[in-house]
Symmetry: C2
Subunit: 393 residues, 2 copies
């Protein structure tokens, strides 16, 4: 019940125990095509270039940034939490001239603030986190695509923490590139990074295409400004996933099975229904935490549905309380990073763990741990408030 | 029965269907530590820096090269097949000044040839493939560590295709960095890349350490020449796997379970015993192919135990024959790359598929496909020769 990774859905685990097939077996390439189509549904996009990168969500971020950014490119990174710093860090390693604007952790940007920064820095790319798990908040993105388009910038966003549990509309919001992972609302393990690219982004990437020596044919592309990474070269990866089936990496078969099943779960449920499920159980958790007398962290108007931050009450050792929850109740919750470490707990209700029983069990266990830690709590206050919340519906 | 990926061992698949645990759960960090120790056994090394990179075998290669190579560094790549070209390609993208020496596909280098190239180019790093699946041959490496040491170069090798099925001795051979994958003799799926680094290599990597913004503390390292990739920054990855447990990527839990089980299988069997099993069944396959009247490809004195190349007989369409084997018998074999595409088939006996029944079934099916394709074959010649081979033992 932390900020992720969380328990995987048993259907995902079963899918991942299936026997392997060969890399170019028609069954395998059919699974790859199905996975592409399923993630178009998850990302709410018609983008042909929708696939998974073989690595964790951070691999998806780096694949996007290293493929889009040429050394010297100006990149604007609005930072409102730890993962904004990660985007800045990766963009810097790609050789970008990075401009950062920052908001205090616990708040997000207004569109006008971001537009002002765009006007000042004239970036080729705006890179921004959607939901930053470190603060539990989600930056509203619905106006940002149009803003970037108006000023001639590409828009990249990292939706790892938010996708599946919060409204996320690649096409309607005009997002050029989005990446994610399986270990949050997608109910799978870390290790596969769904990604989608608009036609415009594909054009930028393909302009740098360089087919590698050893499999290059006469007439194949050799760019003057090749992408700095081979593994994350989206131009080659797109040809691997496309009809050319260019030999690149050997697709991680078991992770593909897992990624496919994660998307099937969401698409079968319906994306609006999945978001509503996260809203329901996330709100019940919040009601329960308030019922226990805890203070919430951050601007609750833009909190993600799937994770909430609470101030660690005075007088209790936050890490010892987390250890007790894990050891005595088998429940994991998280602390946070940097300025919030030891000050804030993060409690998730996401993916397979967005359920009534997990919410009530967590609240019941937390009440016991708080009481034994010397924090005054109303007996049954958390569970009662959550049940009342569910009952009202 | 191709050059890999191959069927996974059912024990690996079962391990990968286990429920997830949290990233810093004591159970998870204990699995990580166990996995490090197990891979020391697989790599035959005492290197503390032994772990898995989250990505395919190609991710392991890039992590090694991008972490070792600073732009402008001289790198020598002896190339004797397609994957030598891959090393060259990745080293070039890392900004290295790459020097290549080449041998005709189907042959390998003598130590003297490599030493001559080292003397001529004075590289910081020699990067060489151990077993190049494209040609099925393994470059003898037992003298190379001492040669590199003598000339002040680091030695990196890609053991993806060979590890577990052929003698491979990191410490005894003086290899600084070696990487692999699970999808060959390790009997698992692609998606996790075991890697080991000598103390000397760790020193080179750590000299470039830069802890990323967002989690950096006062006094933490900031390098003037940071590693160009964040995801593949082995200095940070080592701190994630080490006692600091620095937050980096979110370890791919299911792939870790798989990687751990692959290593447990090999260590329980014993590395010499695993190599002998690959030699036995690989040799039986070779005897059977010769018994069918096929010509072998490449220098048989340095063939890997786990894969053999055969010339596609005149008069038959190689790809149609492979398609028939797959469609009618459920058996996949491979062709090769570049100059060998359509000229050579590659037939593997590796990992879970290094068994008597897989060898005999493949030979029986291949005989039928060859006959129906118009190739003259002795009835029972392949299976007979393999059974004779097994019987002699």
């Amino acid at each position: 019940m932390g900020p992720g990774p969380i328990n995987a859905d048993p259907r995902v685990l079963r899918a991942m125990s299936a026997q392997l097939v060969g890399q170019y077996d028609p069954a395998m390439t059919a699974y790859m095509n199905e996975t592409m189509e399923l993630y178009r549904g998850v990302f709410r996009t018609a983008n042909a270039a929708t696939l998974v990168v073989d690595g964790t969500s951070r691999a998806g971020i780096e694949a996007a940034l290293v493929s889009l950014i040429e050394p010297g490119d100006r990149v604007l990174v609005p930072v409102f939490g730890r993962f904004g710093h990660l985007l800045r860090e990766i963009a810097e390693r790609c050789g970008a001239e990075v401009h950062v604007v920052e908001r205090e952790w616990g708040t997000v940007f207004t569109p006008a603030e971001i537009e002002r920064a765009i006007v000042e820095t004239r970036p080729k790319l705006v890179a921004i986190v959607h939901g930053d798990t470190s603060t539990t908040l989600a930056q509203p993105l619905d106006e940002l695509g149009a803003l970037c388009d108006k000023h001639g910038a590409l828009l990249y966003t990292d939706a790892t923490a938010s996708l599946g549990g919060n409204l996320f509309e690649v096409d309607a919001w005009g997002i050029d590139v989005a990446t994610a992972g399986l270990q949050k609302c997608l109910a799978g393990p870390s290790g596969s990074a769904p990604i989608t690219l608009s036609e415009r982004a594909v054009g930028v990437v393909n302009a740098r295409k360089s087919i590698e020596a050893g499999i290059r044919s006469v007439g194949d592309a050799v760019s003057a400004s090749p992408i700095r990474s081979n593994y994350f070269d989206l131009a080659m990866i797109l040809d691997y996933w496309g009809p050319k089936r260019l030999n690149h990496h050997t697709e991680a078969t078991t992770m593909l099975y897992g990624a496919r099943e994660c998307a099937r779960l969401l698409v079968e449920e319906g994306m609006p229904e999945a978001v509503e499920r996260h809203r329901l159980h996330g709100s019940a958790m919040v009601a329960g935490l308030v019922g226990l007398g805890l203070e919430l962290f951050g601007d609750q108007g833009v909190r993600m549905n799937n994770v909430v931050g609470v101030e660690i009450p005075a007088g209790i050792d936050g890490d010892a309380a987390r250890a007790a929850l894990l050891a005595d109740y088998g429940i994991e919750i998280g602390t946070s990073f940097g300025p919030l470490h030891g000050r804030v707990w993060r409690i998730g209700t996401m993916g397979y763990n967005a359920r009534r029983d997990t919410v009530l069990t967590t609240l019941a266990a937390l009440e016991q741990v708080l009481r034994r830690g010397g924090v005054p709590v109303t007996a049954g206050g958390g569970v009662g408030a959550a049940i009342d919340f569910y009952g009202e519906r």
